[in-house]
Symmetry: none
Subunit: 215 residues, 4 copies
């Protein structure tokens, strides 16, 4: 017997509603996407947070964005060591197989992962330092970012670390040979955003490292 249980009824009802409306309206397009394969223009790396809706913000429809979501939208550095790297696999597939034209890393305010990283690095969350903490080890990727923000006034550190999460991912992306090659040849551009989930604003990395400009 499988451990899986039937879906809660409210989701079943909503699904049938979707099937009878949105699906039916777009059936031809969905079928074509299924037959011809996807051809997304961009890859987006964003956070798992339930308050982050990248398709909504950008009015994106089926087939537009190849989306990887993980805690704090982090990309680790290139490490072809034969181990399982889910984020690196997603990036490889998007760049090598799908040949996306844009690779967008979108962070957000009030990120629980970033707050956890700040607490860990500043000595306030010893449980995240434990070897067995998956969140802690994952947030290790952002440790160098913490070093860059720890001397700022305290009330600016979290915001700066949210931006560092994006910049760190962009830096790490450039350590992948196939990303660097695609960027150098002009086949793909990188983009770094931070979305403010409270006031809806969006800033993008531009100019000198660490500078973000409102869109």
């Amino acid at each position: 017997m499988t451990i899986a249980r039937p879906l809660p009824q409210y989701l079943v009802q909503r699904y049938h509603g979707w099937k009878a409306t949105s699906y039916t309206e777009n059936k031809a397009w969905y079928r074509r996407l299924a037959e011809d394969g996807q051809r997304p223009r961009a890859m987006v790396i964003s956070c798992c947070d339930s308050r982050v809706h990248v398709t909504s913000i950008f009015g994106a429809d089926s087939g537009e964005f190849f989306i990887h979501r993980n805690i704090a939208n982090l990309v680790p550095a290139y490490a072809p060591d034969g181990e399982q790297h889910g984020t690196s696999a997603a990036v490889e597939y998007a760049v090598q197989a799908l040949k996306v034209a844009h690779l967008i890393v979108m962070g957000h305010t009030k990120c629980g992962g970033v707050a956890g990283c700040h607490a860990m690095c500043s000595g306030h969350a010893p449980e995240l330092e434990e070897k067995s903490s998956f969140v802690g080890r994952w947030m290790d990727i952002l440790r160098p970012g913490y070093e860059r923000v720890k001397d700022l006034p305290e009330d600016q550190q979290i915001g700066a670390l949210e931006r560092e999460a994006v910049l760190t991912s962009l830096d790490n992306l450039m350590t992948f040979p196939f990303v660097q090659a695609a960027v150098d040849s002009g086949e793909m551009t990188l983009h770094g955003l931070v979305h403010n989930i409270s006031d809806g604003s969006l800033v993008q990395a531009e100019g000198p490292r660490g500078q973000f400009i409102e869109i």
Copy 2:
């Protein structure tokens, strides 16, 4: 200088449209979610594929689903080895910190990752066997699934392997002590789905292992 480039203009325009309409309509709720924190009812693990829209299918809005997306919606087995495991970190955060009530793994038809795994395991994609192939190493998670489907008639293998991707993830989820504890105590239920991106249908894992029933 950052390597990041300004966002393409079509995305900037759509963003401003969203800000002026959807954001404005829901501003009060977004602000409250930002202030009070998220409290999603469910975690969904689905594929990065651009044709998979879980929030759309289930009429879910901001705050409802904590969503992790990776290649082929795979969850590796529990391995607290101090290495970076992005998927395990997302599961840990959802179960331990957010205490979601439902954990849904949703696979889909025409999955490029699953097709790659099938090609690799059947000897038709030697490049995926290389140590440096992130996609190949990631799809190693599904190798035991291939063993279970390889003796089926050839035209049924891929579909069966798409279902195995979901079942393998469910099995692996149960190797995490905190997932097992939450399931055993009734604090969380697991759900396994496969979405047919062509005809819009949805099947769920039910009864004996490997059986999927249309919703």
Copy 3:
């Protein structure tokens, strides 16, 4: 210009989903209910609380229950003073015009209104004592109930007060001449329930005053 704003988009989409599925399936019945008028078998008085779903608990469909929902499922005593009494109007309409066969008062655990009443009556919520507090004045209906539970062990008082809210409403209902007449003639029966929103259990008032038996 009206102050009203367009409905959030996620509700519009879900509505269209309902229209295309549930409505379409039940169209004939809905039309007949619209033409012939409603003929509900029971009136239910329950709380506004978002965790209380009386139609769901009793598998009730359109046309079955005439439902009044207010804070803490309270019914004030009969007072034909020419003022506006929304609850009394609902009861009058259900009994006199619709001639329901059952009148069910359903309370629930973790009721914010009952907790507020307890805080107010025990001197811990002076703001609820103010004349301008609508919640405070509404919960005055339950003051006599507080007198009956205040000498119980402290950890039993809230639970007892939740049951008193139901019993008080039943007592007050009997002060309405048309309710008393319908009960005396056997045309209508009264029922008192408390629903535990955590473990899903349901108890009903039975036997001596204050006794509730699990269903």
Copy 4:
């Protein structure tokens, strides 16, 4: 002895069915809602009418909507006179304690309360003019609305009065200082709907007062 009688058997059976299925499926979420408290996104004010199912129409599950239901979905004007105002108490609790982001007033066609108001105001229901008529006194809230529709062609008056019930409630809501403050600050939006229970359509108040647009 309490006046309360045991629940009819058909309801007991349906309850046990719910407990064994829906409750079990959603137990984890219900428990969490019970422990952490409700955090509904919206308050809905609708009619007691048994043909009105707001949660069904909007695919809403436990925890989403704080729902007040009274005759003809009416909200009286602000009157902090120390008397019992059940509707005002519900509005106060939703806005002040729960801080809902949306307050939706949903009227419906074939409303018995509205028809009674029309009969009363046009001189055809003297019994409703009596001081002791709770329904009559409650429908007094809608008298100003009758004045605005009484010169329309006769077959349009009832429909117009159903819409006036919604508009009157919206106007009266704005007389509550805490509603006005929440609307002015953007913390809450008001919405006015009329649901056609026969053909399933839904119109919303938009633009100039009295104008309703199909969704």
